[in-house]
Symmetry: C2
Subunit: 283 residues, 2 copies
Amino acid sequence: METRVSCQDKEVVISSSHPTVLIGERINPTGKAKLTAALQAGDLQIVREMAVTQMADGADILDVNVGALGVDEVSFLPKAVSAVMEEVKVPLCIDSDNPKALEAGLKVYKGKAIINSVNGQEYRLQSVLPLAKDFGAALVCLAMDDEGIPATADRRLAVVAKIVERATAMGIPQEDLIVDCLALAVSADSKAGVVTLEAIRRVRDEFGVNQTLGASNISFGLPERDVINWAFLAMAISTGVTCPVVHVSKVRAAVLATDVLLGKDDYSMRYIRAYRQRQASTK
Amino acid sequence: METRVSCQDKEVVISSSHPTVLIGERINPTGKAKLTAALQAGDLQIVREMAVTQMADGADILDVNVGALGVDEVSFLPKAVSAVMEEVKVPLCIDSDNPKALEAGLKVYKGKAIINSVNGQEYRLQSVLPLAKDFGAALVCLAMDDEGIPATADRRLAVVAKIVERATAMGIPQEDLIVDCLALAVSADSKAGVVTLEAIRRVRDEFGVNQTLGASNISFGLPERDVINWAFLAMAISTGVTCPVVHVSKVRAAVLATDVLLGKDDYSMRYIRAYRQRQASTK
């Protein structure tokens, strides 16, 4: 199944037979004091710089989230989206908890965006599914609902099934749904990795839709987080994830290596080119 | 299924529900000029040092191979096995192309060893299976035969089925068989990783036996080989490999991370302990 997203000049195809698509996670104030302060002051310069840096690092799509205390997302998310569109030519993932802000961001966006996100909560289904339908956008579907993130793969699948059913009933094509099975910190629960991987495998086998994953949470609380993140991404991609949300500069080599091993990089050309670029940039 | 191997003082259990067992690959002269020269001169000092170093790095089992031009393995492999037994308390994997050398090594070994290896060639089946039976040893079974390493997972499975059948007919318990699906260089063939992973998955699902893998070959000819090896090990272990043959110091962190993610390391204790040891040793 292919999900096609675009900006004015470029289309990106997400599918299990294409190289893994990297969604850059950095434009998001959670845990970033400097970015939070800038957004609160209405300053988008850091956002512009993060867009340029992530593209140089090899991002295929950029997530844009400006949700911070004191920021009016409805007026400010479209400004951030416009600023990023000015800086870089890349499809965007418009990210907010506020459906009105998502709508405002979609209104200024040129191309086919990804909406981040809907989940199994009735309120979200009712407010976000119509946006995906009206704007013809792709849609990240989180495997959680009013009761939080289910502890078992079974129950995450049930939430996914519910979202897929509601989206389909509204006429949203299944290829525009991008499921996120969600990763919790394995330091808090030894089964966190296994449950997520099992859910990913079953979503692939039962729905065949594209899948994203915020892969960095898994390593929270552990030393040398990158090592955990790399191993998790390799396993998650080999199990069904096609467009993870990541810190691109930290994980790109590992993801390209995974693509080589999964036969998604003929003659290892992308892997070798990225290696040479890193070599050149550190000279 | 559990494979139990031992030395005089210690037993190691290999199974998919236990942490991944690391077989240290270093005592093998292939591609090592200094070790080759030492073995040709009858000098086992480097072998002794490699044994100690690999144990310090976290090896669970050590492979011992002294096959080099001009080395009489039948007389020298038992000397190497004895030397390693004097230095370290760890089960050994006795490794030779020469069945007479394997027999000589097994005769001096104290405990239950692993024999490395048999494959689908009639000559190897007839000469090596009786050794596993007579010495009660575990046995590495390579998925290759007279025609070399099959290009497809189907044909590798057929070779494995043949070896399992012959071993079973001779009364060797299936839990003593350790299959190696074999990894070729992905730089030479883009499908090399996919074929091996598919074979590993099917051996797990159809035979349920333990599996080893010489995981380093996969990255031959590519830059930053460790990144490829880490990703491949993560995928191979999540697919069914339980005791890879590896350069322990280079891959242990990635393997321990994989075990954390697969729920094989309660409270991430092994991962955190290994991290602290590395920190202490670099101070």
